[in-house]
Amino acid sequence: MIQDKERKAKEEYEEKKELVKKELDYYAEKMQEFGLKSMDRFLEYCPNPSKYMQLGITFAHKDLEIVAEAIADHKPWAVISGLNPSGPLHLGHKAIFEELLWMQKQGADIYIPLTNDESYTVGKTKSLAEARKIAYEQVIPSIIAMGFDPKKTHIFVDSDYPDIYNVAMDISTKITLNKAFGVFGFDKKEEGENPGTMFYRAAVQVAQILLPQYEEFGGPKPTIIPVGIDQHPYILLARDIAEKKGFIPPAEIITKFLQSLKEPGKKMSASNPESCIFLTDSPEVAKNKIQKAFTGGLFSAESQKELGGVPEICSIYLLLKYHFLSFEEIIKLKEDYEKGRVMNSDLKKMTIKYVQDYLKDHQSKLEDAKKNIDKFLLKTPIRSILKY
């Protein structure tokens, strides 16, 4: 009986370790395939890298050099990071916005397109209006509540900034259908694939990326897009078009998205509410989600004490790593976790407290944030492409 227990614990431990290895191999393989560089050199030289870079959450880049020069020389540069509004933001989004906040502190102008057109065309919402409503009522207030500077933050909801469609038209002649099919793999029979999604992905999305380089925003300048590694081909397309338009090809940094609470290797997703903690969740709901979350621990406390846990795939440890502990604290926690000095129950207890405190604080700022939406909205008309 005891031997069975030991064997089972070892198997569980090995399985979890294997998941970690699989993830590491996947990223290493993709980095090589896409010719991406690791952040190591940046970490050596940059006097104040972000916490996410130091912790290896932002782990690779392409062309970060041009952005680094803009940071160091105090020259204009911009970040573009959009999302499709289909529900409230969750802690996975918060991680991306934390990285954007770091970039803003380094001098970046932040452009946040809220793509209600995409939400609708891919079927995440029933109407453009629904996605638009979510953008204004839930997403934008949450973004503002995170502490962005209105002077350097430019948010727009695609439907309410139709100039973006003119920009999309402007660049669309630089993309062949062949290229677009190659990058996005449109499937004629797939549900949710329609002329709208095609136009959005192949033209509007690129227009959003190149927008800060149009005359109205000061012309060509270094730009960067934080993405997940699977989005790299989209950036390549944007780089290609940037060159054709006489713009500076956008750089990218690759970030590991916050893991789902339910399944290792998957990211937090609003479409699976149990996988994420929404910034609008009540303390009780958040507590329940954390209590049911997947961990890197073993089935018995005894085994975990003996073999240690596997923090890299523990959704609770990752919540603490991404959001609540300092660099030094997380290094210490990782070691304790691996050596079996930390139990899941303690970890969950600690995390519940952190998450509830954060949600309480965040939610308390939302009403005030709603009053300030107008200060953050991009309204600049794009006329340069219509001149004759």
């Binding site: 050199r41 940046f42 050596e44 030289y45 940059c46 006097p47 050099e65 680094a68 020069e69 940071i71 160091a72 020389d73």
Partner: protein, 335 residues
């Protein structure tokens, strides 16, 4: 100063033969031990980074003299090499620039009492002795595909076809120049020539030259982002003796040209890090200034600036102030 201290000086010497190897070579020779540093130039001026090599050749010679050993410390101005890849109408100008560089070395030699022998390539390249030596080297290399491959590697990819047409004469001149030397001081990137020269000496059963590499040189006035963008700069730096290396002439200290105010601004705006594996142009200039000081005062004591900085006894801002003052006093004011 003890030889051991000189050749292990942190922040100055990157790689060196051992004390025993140098002493054994010096003692076994009937002639003087040949200590050598050779350089070309461009038309942007004379660099402080070259002075590091002049000082070091001199100090190595002086240190060995204290041990009772005779040396021949040579600084070669490779004027013929500098002219080899320029158009005939520019050749005259480049030979004139060779005069300027020679005058600069003479001036440094005099101000700091270095006791160097200054030689120009044009003085010996057409002698029968040199041409015979070069012919022999060419013959050996052409009959050995491994050696020819190594010769090709001394040339940057972009220039390989051009050099092939010229029979790799630049490389053969370089090898014929260094093959009979004892200790060759240089930047680490010269290893390719040195290895071929050593291989040829081994085949001829002669004493192979010993390479001593000083730390690479870096531009001043450049921030962290510049160094981040230049992958590999940690290993090779920029060309010490060419002010216009990588078009960075505005970011070099050029005695006689750089004004005090300019030097201050360059130092103040330089990248500086407590990580000893990263470039530290300010510390590098500081060490050159310390070498200048010890030659002026004839007090050959060990330079501790490297250790003091990396053990955080001196803060980065203090180092910048200290280096600017030393630069002004020991070098810029003398030109």
């Amino acid at each position: 100063m003890k030889l051991r201290f000189l050749i292990t000086q942190k922040g100055l010497v990157l790689q060196s033969p051992t004390t025993e190897e140098i002493l054994a070579r010096a003692k076994s020779k009937k002639q003087k031990l040949k200590i050598f540093y050779g350089e070309t130039y461009d038309d942007y001026g004379n660099t402080i980074d070259s002075m590091k090599y002049y000082f070091f050749v001199s100090e190595l010679a002086k240190t060995l003299k204290q041990e009772g050993l005779e040396t021949d410390p040579i600084i070669l101005i490779a004027d013929t090499a500098a002219c080899r890849n320029v158009s005939p109408d520019l050749e005259k100008r480049y030979m004139k620039l060779g005069d300027d560089r020679t005058d600069f070395v003479k001036k440094v030699n005099k101000i700091y009492d270095l006791g160097l022998r200054i030689l120009r390539m044009s003085e010996y390249i057409n002698t029968k002795e040199f041409q015979d030596k070069r012919e022999k080297i060419i013959e050996i290399c052409k009959s050995d595909s491994g050696l020819m491959a190594a010769i090709e590697k001394t040339v940057p990819e972009s220039k390989i076809e051009e050099e092939r047409k010229k029979g790799f004469m630049y490389s053969f001149d370089e090898i014929a120049t260094i093959i009979d030397l004892d200790v060759k001081i240089g930047p680490p990137r010269e290893d390719l020539y040195d290895n071929i020269a050593r291989e040829l000496s081994r085949r001829e059963k002669k004493n192979p030259l010993m390479s001593l590499f000083l730390t690479p040189s870096f531009p001043v006035g450049k921030n962290w982002a510049y160094f981040f963008s230049q992958e590999g700069i940690e290993d090779h730096g920029i060309t010490a003796y060419k002010a216009g290396s990588k078009r960075l002439q505005e970011f070099r200290i050029l005695p006689g040209l750089t004004k005090a105010e300019q030097a201050k601004s360059l130092i103040d705006n330089s990248f500086i890090s407590l990580n000893p594996s990263l470039p530290n142009p300010v510390l590098d200039i500081g060490i050159i200034c310390e070498m200048a000081r010890r030659n002026l005062k004839k007090e050959f004591i060990q330079i501790n600036l490297n250790d003091e900085f990396y053990s955080e006894k001196i803060k980065p801002t203090e180092l910048k102030k200290y280096v600017y003052k030393a630069l002004q006093e020991e070098i810029l004011s003398k030109f």
